[in-house]
């Protein structure tokens, strides 16, 4: 059967081409010289703001730490997701167990491209999909601030993921779909400055969309339901809708949002809960202007109805 032979041969060639193409397409891509040139010298004082906007300590401090212990970025929290358990690593200044030996370029490649110094893809539980929208100068500032924090020895346990999620190379294809430095929400020209500043904080360092936006089948955020709320990645709860759509925060004023981020109290004097407690405590460290900018942006984003299914009424 020469025809069958030909078909098999063609399939093999095609398969081979696809495999080779896939290998190249999935290769980790580092930052170009132009971006690296924008890093600048870095300023630790400015970096402190980025540190709290980014919420680094919420995942990288030892679980349950309070006070100054939250600046010991030894890792070890377990994020139990449908993909498996992710464990944020030690990002303290320890040269062996942490990132003390990383150059600012190494750090920028991790933050903006999700690539480790050894050239491996990082898992997006580390929210570089959001951080990719950050300004290089802010990355350098954050790097300078991290340099002021203590070195703490000790490796966090490894991730525990099933196939195919344990194949890091596969993330290269995933990044082609989702990694972009472009803003999510586009605003017309002349949009007030606080809204734009808020967009940067929310979509970039704040990475609010990572929890507040529902995900599609392959785990990317659905931009058509940006910030509409989602089923929590961990546990059985939900993460609320923070747009002005149905179920969201249309009845919150900008002052209400800013006050919530500062004090943890909602307008009707319920309080912050769950994973948002740590986030709110970070937001409380930011300036009044930054919180007001976040509020202005949230009131300006397109409204969506809840991005999670309605609660099932218990059978009586």
């Amino acid at each position: 059967m020469p025809l069958l032979k030909k078909l098999v041969g063609a399939a093999l060639v095609l398969g081979g081409v696809a495999a080779i193409a896939g290998w190249f397409l999935s290769a980790p891509v580092r930052l170009g010289a132009a971006t690296l040139a924008q890093l600048g010298p870095g300023d630790a004082d400015r970096g402190k703001r980025i540190f709290y906007a980014g919420g680094c300590t919420s995942c990288h401090a030892k679980p349950g730490s309070q006070g100054d212990a939250r600046l010991q970025l030894v890792g070890g929290l377990e994020l139990k997701t449908p993909f498996g358990t992710f464990v944020p690593p030690n990002i303290s200044q320890d040269t062996k167990d942490g990132i003390g030996a990383w150059s600012v370029e190494d750090f920028a490649n991790a933050m903006l491209k999700g690539v480790s110094p050894s050239g491996e893809h990082l898992y997006p539980a580390f929210p570089y999909i959001s951080y990719a929208r950050m300004k290089p100068a802010d990355i350098a500032d954050l790097y300078a601030f991290l340099k002021t924090l203590p070195a703490v020895a000790g490796k966090a346990p490894a991730n525990s993921l099933g196939f195919p999620f344990n194949v890091r190379r596969g993330l290269g294809l995933w990044k082609l779909l989702y990694l972009s430095d472009k803003p999510v929400v586009s605003f017309p020209e002349g949009t007030p400055q606080p809204v734009q500043a808020g967009r940067y904080l929310v979509e970039g360092p704040g990475h609010c969309g990572e929890c507040h936006t529902p995900r599609d089948l392959t785990g990317g955020t659905r931009k058509s339901q940006w910030l509409a709320g989602a089923a929590a990645a961990e546990g059985s709860g939900i993460v609320p809708n923070i747009t002005s759509g149905e179920g969201g925060i249309a009845d919150w004023s900008e002052a209400d949002i800013a006050n919530y981020l500062e004090t943890g109290f909602t307008p009707d004097f319920d309080t912050v809960g769950g994973a948002m407690v740590d986030v709110q405590r970070n937001m409380a460290v930011l300036t009044r202007e930054d919180r007001a900018a976040i509020a202005a942006y949230l009131k300006a984003v397109p409204p969506h109805p809840n991005g999670y299914p309605a609660r099932k009424k218990p059978a009586s």
Binding site: G264, F265, D270, G274, V277, R281, N306
Partner: protein, 147 residues
């Protein structure tokens, strides 16, 4: 200010009425707690002028509320009451000891505020931040948002 005191007394009274439903009961206590906190927050923010007597009354109401919760915690959170119209996390029952520690610390913080009655809005602010932090600490672990 009299209105505030009256409202608090009425709330305290409403809170003392016995419910047969532990979920409704604990939610009523939490709502009352939030209302009192809202009144105090206005003083902290300077929206209501500082008045020592009414602040103390509010703090005492907060203490009465916390004591009711503390004394009734077993009846308020019986096994199996994590289902239905509640945002109580199953973690409460998995870690009842931790839950009781958190709610005990909250009561202690409120009592401390009453014992060292604040002399001005700044003193109240410090106490209010401690108490409010307790709200977050407990809700971080023991409440789950549902759709």
């Amino acid at each position: 200010m009299r209105k505030l005191i009256l409202a608090i007394s009425m709330l305290a009274f409403a809170g003392s009425a016995a419910f047969a439903d532990p979920v409704a009961d604990r939610q009523a206590l939490m709502k009352e707690r939030g209302k009192i906190a809202a009144g105090l927050s206005k003083v902290v923010k300077g929206e209501t002028p500082y008045d020592a007597a009414s602040v103390l009354t509010a703090l005492q109401a907060l203490q009465a509320n916390a004591e009711k919760f503390h004394a009734g915690v077993d009846a308020l959170f019986p096994a199996g009451s994590d289902i239905g119209d509640t945002t109580a996390s199953p973690k409460i029952w998995q870690d009842m000891a931790g839950f009781k520690t958190a709610e005990g610390k909250y009561l202690a913080d409120v009592k401390a505020a009453v014992a060292a009655a604040p002399a001005d809005a700044d003193a109240l602010k410090a106490q209010f931040n401690t108490i409010g932090g307790g709200c977050g600490n407990c809700h971080q672990s023991y409440r789950v948002k549902k759709g």
